[in-house]
Every structure is written in C-alpha cells, then in structure tokens.
C-alpha cells in the first residue's frame, strides 16, 4: 500500500533526472524525510525528560517549581523555540506523509513547500510571543 502510493508515474520517471521509483531519494522528498527523522528523534528525547519533570508534581510543589524554573531561563527559552519549531515541522510534514499515502503522491513536492509556508506562519505567531514571555520576566 505505501510503496504503491509512493511510486511515481512512468511519465515522471522519464522526465525526471533523479533516481526513479521512489520519492524518498533526492531533493524535497528526501530532505523532508531527513528532517522528519531528526525532528522525531529530538522530540522523543525531550518527551522522555518532559514526563520525568512533570512527574515531580507527585513529589512536592517545591521540587516541581525548582525544575520548571529552569525551563523559564533565557537559554531554555531559546531551546523551547527550537523544540516548538521541530514539533511544528514534524506535525505538518506528518500530515503531508498521510496525504501522500492516502491521497496523491504527485503533489508531494508542492506539499513540502506548503509545509514550509505553514511552518513559517506558525512560528511567526509563536516565536515573538514566546520570547517576550521568556525575556520580560
């Protein structure tokens, strides 16, 4: 099922100069895949830490507040910006993968640029507000 959806049409194979038969080798198809993996790993390791720090609410208010205050420093504020950037890319590109698999692989390249555009818009809405919250307290 996924292989079939990801196979290019014969017309595309003959007119394209990149390796035929897959959209995951070269150019937009490959780089979106690389970014999806890197952001996925980063988010996974943050998730492990994030569950442990949140679990401190079960220890004591002091313990939780001590750890969460380290998330409110400027350096961690920049880290949170990177984290949200990774999550937003992974989310939108994940929806792109679903559309490639269930809708139409023909538009994967265009959809990659839609993902980037949506990422920019979302980050424009998030980053200024978040940095003001971090740096004005």
């Amino acid at each position: 099922m996924p292989e079939q959806a990801a196979t290019l049409t014969s017309q595309q194979k003959t007119t394209s100069r990149r390796p035929a038969g897959t959209l995951y080798r070269g150019r937009e198809g490959m780089w979106s895949w690389v970014l999806h993996r890197i952001t996925g790993v980063a988010i996974f390791f943050f998730l492990l830490v994030h569950i442990l720090d949140t679990a401190l609410v079960r220890v004591s208010p002091e313990a939780y507040n001590a750890v969460i205050s380290s998330y409110q420093t400027p350096i961690m504020g920049l880290g949170e910006t990177a984290l949200v950037g990774a999550i937003v890319f992974h989310a939108f590109n994940g929806l792109r993968i679903i559309l490639i698999d269930f809708w139409n692989a023909k538009y994967q390249k265009a959809m990659f640029y839609v993902v980037i555009a949506l990422w920019v818009v979302t980050m424009l809405a998030f980053v200024p507000r978040h940095l003001i919250n971090v740096f004005s307290h």
Binding site: F44, R58, P61, E62, Q72, E80
Partner: protein, 150 residues
C-alpha cells in the same frame, strides 16, 4: 546434462507469510492515526501552556494542579502520554531497524526503547490519577487557590 536458469530480473521469492496478525501493517496505520490525533492534542497543549497569558513564565505547581484536577485536561494529558510515547517509541524502533546493523545491538536498543516507553507510560498515568493538588505541609503560596488553608 540440463541446468535450469532462472529468468533474469525475476523478483526474489519471499516465504509466504504465515497466519497471524500483520503487526508492521498495524504499526504503520497506528503512526498515521495517532499522528493526526497528536497534532490536535500537542498543538492544544502548547497553545494553553506557552501562548495563553504569560506562557512558560506562568508555569508552576499551582498551574499544573489546576489542570490535573480538571477531568478534561486529565483525559487530554493521559491520551497525549500514551499516544505520543507509543508513536515515538515505534518511530525510534524504525530508526534502530534502519541503522543498527548488528542483531545484538538492535535487540539491546529496542529493549531499551520498550523499557523507557513502558516505564514512562506507567509513571505518567500513575501521576495523573494519584495526583494530590493540596499536599499536606506545603506552603500555601505554592498551592492552588482552591486548597483549604492549613
């Protein structure tokens, strides 16, 4: 003397799958279904915790206590916990299968992923459902406003 020559470029034959559940297929489906749900859950989580009010600067025990005593957010957080950890664990399993070439390395790494996922799901679920927003003996200024004065 006769010898049989295989037809060139014929696909190599795979042993026919024996009966049973096709777990790789269900894993593939799970990534897509949980992914869609997680987009909603995590975007909502980030919006409420980082965008509303003073965002990350407003986070403390009292804020979390307010959320973890609201059934809506308890369900939200537990769903997010289970869906995200299994989604992330399965994704990491895919990477290990792709990049770890030794059978033993793969086994160790996948066992570690499984252990981390199981332990954190149990821990997180216990935290949400056994949470005490007003622990005895804690300073009142750290507790949510609904706690009785001690």
């Amino acid at each position: 003397m006769t010898s049989t020559i295989e037809a060139p470029r014929s696909p190599y034959s795979r042993a026919p799958r024996s009966r049973g559940v096709n777990w790789e297929k269900w894993g593939w489906i799970y990534m897509r279904v949980s992914g869609v749900v997680l987009v909603v859950l995590i975007f909502g989580h980030l919006f409420v915790n980082l965008m509303v009010g003073e965002g990350v600067s407003a986070l403390n025990f009292a804020f979390v206590a307010g959320k973890l005593t609201t059934p809506f957010w308890m369900v939200w957080d537990v769903l997010m916990l289970w869906l995200a950890l299994i989604h992330g664990g399965n994704g990491m399993r895919t990477l290990v299968n792709d990049y770890a070439t030794q059978r033993l390395t793969r086994g160790i790494l996948k066992s570690a992923i499984l252990a981390a996922v199981v332990i954190l799901i149990v821990l997180g679920t216990l935290v949400v459902f056994t949470f005490d927003p007003c622990p005895a003996g804690s300073p009142a200024d750290l507790l949510p406003s609904f706690c009785p004065a001690s």
